[in-house]
Symmetry: C2
Subunit: 125 residues, 2 copies
DNA sequence: CTGCATCCAGCGCGATACTG
DNA sequence: CAGTATCGCGCTGGATGCAG
């Protein structure tokens, strides 16, 4: 086996971890929602509808743990919590938006491919 | 509610679909493995270790359905099946590799952030 | 308003065994 | 070699209720 083969996996390990963040159901949506400035919990919830409260909490905590989002509590009454992209979070937007553009540009092709595939499958059954 | 809010979701819907492909556990690994040319089923399996046979089959079928990978059967004995990136599949490599570079460049920062977060969490318990 | 705890259904995915 | 079929566990994620 050529050495290159195993390096593929090794070099991809950290990448895979991050891709699962990016690929999870809500992370990207939240990162994009926060692109123009800080937002409060329920603002994000409305912007990212139909996210459930539970998943918003969990996703925000994950993003905060990864250092992509900062959380600021203002202990007023009622309490106020603002979320904002960190510098790291903003730097992630560039490659993510590139992927978004790709998706936008090609989703018609993908739809077509899927339709053709499904029809071919039906025909052979 | 401002109209802008819903556009966010609507414009992201096709994007989200594609992000789930990209974010799933094996798709990207396979796309990268195929970057230099066609490979046979078991070649990919070895390159993408420790993928299970089941997941390789399913992932390849998904990629084929999306038009990212083509499947060519040579009915010899034993049978031979080659998988290869389509033009669409190759075009996906660019944004994916950009994301990969971002992940590679920043995974140390993310590790640090996670460590700090986890320590802060421990301290407060 | 913000967020955690609990319960619960669905299915992603791995292990294993079998076919052409 | 290249799949398909089946089973089962664990995690994801939704609904609801409670707390600060």
């Amino acid at each position: 086996m050529k050495p290159g083969n195993n390096e593929l996996i090794d070099r991809c390990r950290p990448v895979r971890t991050i891709l699962s963040r990016v690929g999870d159901k809500w992370s990207v949506l939240i990162v994009i929602a926060l692109r123009e400035g800080p937002m409060r919990f329920n603002e994000i919830k409305r912007a990212a509808e139909p996210i459930s409260q539970r998943m918003l909490t969990l996703t925000l905590k994950g993003l905060e743990r990864d250092g992509l989002v900062s959380r600021t509590v203002t202990p007023s009454k009622p309490p106020r919590v603002d979320y904002e992209l960190t510098a790291l979070g903003h730097s992630l937007r560039e490659p993510v938006e590139a992927l978004g553009r790709w998706a936008f540009d090609h989703h018609a092709e993908i739809d077509d491919a899927q339709t053709r595939f499904d029809e071919a499958e039906l025909a052979s059954e």
